[in-house]
């Protein structure tokens, strides 16, 4: 019987690991789903455009606009139908680098191995000539995918954009130029000559999911597929997932996440934190895991930082808060903060020792290093350090909340913070 138990544990272990592997790949590796969720009409529109280029040889240019995490990268699935040249604005930060990358991807003749020969002007001339030589009927259509399109608009003279869009307007090799961006105002960034060559076709990926559809997606993301090797385990798992999604607290958490942002990336980070707790000893997903994951995600990081400050630094922050309240958010300098602190020490405090000014200055500089206080004009240092104007980067509410949680906070400090006029 003991051996049976061991064997079961081993089986459970292996199966658990496989389940983890699958879920991690889905949540971390951002494996693209086969069909985009909630974006059917936009997807159809895009497919139609690409089809027109691939089949009928029409040159097209289109811009896909959508917030981060809304599924713009899914366009990559269709690259295999074309001679694709994907370029990314993040990586190719310059037109020269971008052009070399395009030449490499299209395997033009001036590429040997990995090295691209020639200067920028020569490469550009070569590319344009290569594209000019083809025509609608005989050559394979080319797809240019420009990720982070707005970053390309910051390059000098927008040369690359101008040339690509120019090619898409003239009767040469059928070319599709696809731009992906997260900025709604991207057209304002384009120069006049570039904008006129663009077809002004934009596809907006605004998610129209309702909360019920969102819950369905959650369930789908967490469930194991039917072709999982151990059907008994996968049935149990899927059953527990369904029950979990119907639980009230879990629904509350998912609703709060949904109200924050509808995109799937934040959902994935929440689910990943919960799924990473699954192990051999604890082989189903429980609601405590999700609650814990939500708590980790929704914590205020500045409050955590305030928790670890010394008493002197905390008193300086309270002094700054009082200055903000009295003078309505106008910038202050170290002398004023030190003044307020001295008033507190002399009138109201019993427990705080009277510290020398250099010691207080060192504490103030620590707050500067933590970037809880920032100078108003960050470059200019013409003024002495004590008189440089600063602003507090914390809100009234954050300071009060941090005080409640501060370990062993002396009562006179708390009273001072709560008093209205310092």
């Amino acid at each position: 019987q003991d051996r049976c138990g061991c064997v079961l544990m081993m089986l459970c272990d292996g199966v658990c690991v496989q389940a983890q592997k699958l879920l991690r790949e889905r949540l971390c590796h951002q494996k693209l789903p086969d069909q985009p969720v909630g974006l059917d009409s936009q997807y159809k529109h895009l497919l139609e455009l690409l089809r027109r280029t691939a089949v009928h040889g029409e040159s097209n240019s289109v811009l896909i606009v959508g917030p981060r995490g809304s599924g713009k990268t899914m366009v990559r699935i269709h690259e295999h139908h074309f001679n694709a040249a994907p370029v990314a604005g993040l990586l190719q930060t310059d037109d020269k680098i971008a052009l070399k990358e395009i030449t490499r991807q299209l395997h033009l003749e001036n590429v040997v191995g990995d090295k691209v020969f020639g200067s920028f002007a020569e490469n550009l001339a070569f590319l344009l000539e290569a594209l000019k030589k083809g025509d609608k009927s005989s050559s394979r259509p080319v797809l240019f995918v420009l990720d982070e399109f707005d970053l390309f608009a910051h390059h000098k003279n927008q040369t690359l954009l101008y040339n690509l869009l120019d090619v898409s307007q003239s009767a040469q090799t059928p070319v599709a130029v696809l731009g992906l961006t997260c900025r709604l105002d991207v057209l304002e960034l384009l120069e006049k000559r570039v904008k006129s060559r663009f077809s002004h076709r934009q596809i907006h990926l605004f998610s129209s999911l309702s909360f019920a559809q969102y819950l369905d997606v959650v369930r789908a993301q967490l469930s194991l597929p039917p072709d999982f090797p151990d059907p008994k385990f996968s049935d149990e798992w899927n059953h527990s997932v369904t029950k979990l999604c119907e639980d009230k607290t879990v629904e509350e958490i998912l609703r709060r996440n949904f109200n924050g942002s509808k995109d799937f990336r934040s959902l994935h980070s929440l689910l990943f934190l919960a799924v990473s707790r699954v192990s051999v000893s604890h082989s189903t997903l429980r609601e405590a895991d999700l609650i814990e994951a939500w708590r980790l995600i929704s914590v205020d990081s500045k409050a955590n930082v305030l928790h670890g400050l010394s008493i002197l630094e905390l008193c300086l922050i309270i002094a700054m808060k009082h200055l903000n309240d009295t003078y309505d958010g106008e910038p202050f300098n170290f002398q004023m903060v030190h003044n307020e602190f001295k008033k507190f020490i002399q009138r109201k405090s019993h427990s705080i020792h009277k510290f020398e000014k250099p010691v207080v200055m060192k504490a103030f500089e620590h707050l500067l290093q933590l970037e809880l206080v920032r100078p108003v004009d960050s470059g200019v240092c013409k003024v002495q350090r004590e008189y440089q104007l600063m602003r507090l980067m914390l809100e009234h509410g954050q300071v009060m909340e941090a005080l409640q949680k501060y370990p062993q906070c002396p009562t006179d400090v708390k009273q001072w913070a709560l008093s209205a006029f310092g």
Partner: protein
Amino acid sequence: MSHQKSFQYADLLSVLERVVDIMSAPDQYSYPSVFIYGHRATGKSHVVLSIMKDLELPHASVDCVECVSSGLLFHQVLSAFFGPDAAALLPRCPSLSDFVRLYKQMSSNSPATQTRYIILDRAERMRDMDFSLLPALLRLQELVNDNVTVILLSEIVWEKFRPNTGCFEPLLFHFPDYSKGKSLVQILSWDHHPSYTPELYASYINILLGVFFSVCRDLRELRHLAVLNFSKFCEPLEKGEAKESDIHKLWKNIEPHLQRAMQTVYLREVSSVQWEQQQMDEKEATTLRVLSAHAHIELPYYSKFLLIAAYLASFNPARTDRRFFLKSHGKIRKTNFLKKHEKTSNHLLGPKPFPLDRLMAIFYSVVDSRVAPTASIFSQISSLVTLQLLSQVGHDDQLDSPKYKCSVSLDFILAISRCVCVCVRLLDLLALSLVIQSQVVRQERSLFTAVSNLHLL
């Protein structure tokens, strides 16, 4: 060392459990980027590197302070994962595009069997590098199509890192700070000297924390102070004046010493070598020569008066000059303007610029003998500017009416006035200027006591 490690793990148990969970399946994918933040000396780099070593995971640890250019970072990462030959394939000034392409090539030759980790310490420096470096590294897993995770360690919260148009959000973890009672005392007690009992050292640490804990919680600073001052603490024991159980006597001996340490060694006004030498010196009366003590700056006689005149010019408004510096004057009325702006006195706002003529006028009324306006007087003003006791406001090429500002504090001026045995009238001028401008009652009173002390000289 291992017991130290295990203790620290116990303290940060819940955070560590999370981090280890994420790294516990090395042959599977992990989240593309993780951001760990916490105060200094809370053990972030130590813990992460220890986990890497214990679990024997392939990792590249880079300190962003060392990487003045992004090429250095790429070089270190590639040589850690694929060997120095791979790093040598990088071109002279590698761009991010070159790095990603080379990484893809290398990882297709030797794919990752376990998750590769890139650990970036002091990641706040990355904000000053290439603007696209941080967003690209956060999604490196997707860009190179390999099982790699980037861990960022920093003191500053994530909200300050986020680029304008957004980026891939990493998982955030907070490393908690040490609590006084349980963790800090225990960790500091590990340094105890072998010839004394651990209980004695623990009581010493408690005394030290009693003085310094409300000012500073940085573990490194506290350790430094503990090590420096322990020999002084044990002095009565060595001399035989007290036993180990006479905590009160030992406290009385060490407490003034620690207060002095707060004003010198803690502020780095003296070096630790100087501090230790001073402890060995039996004569306690020798005051330490601290870095910013102005008492030993030797200025020429007239320079001192020039500096005092500059201070008066900076901090008194021009309309009060008549009252202070002329023999006969009328009463000055507090105008509406003065009443409205009473709240923010000059002493809080900083010194105001003044033209050279005003400085010379005040100088002539302050100095006690007849002085001719020779070049030696004017060159002393330029020397004061070079010493950064005065600062010049406005352009260098304004030759006819240059403007200056006084950049020293009141304490310095009082120290100088003491040196020149300045007459009573000057002290009154200083005191009066403060009465009219400052709104802090206590500040005047303490200054009056200081001024009256000077009268006794």
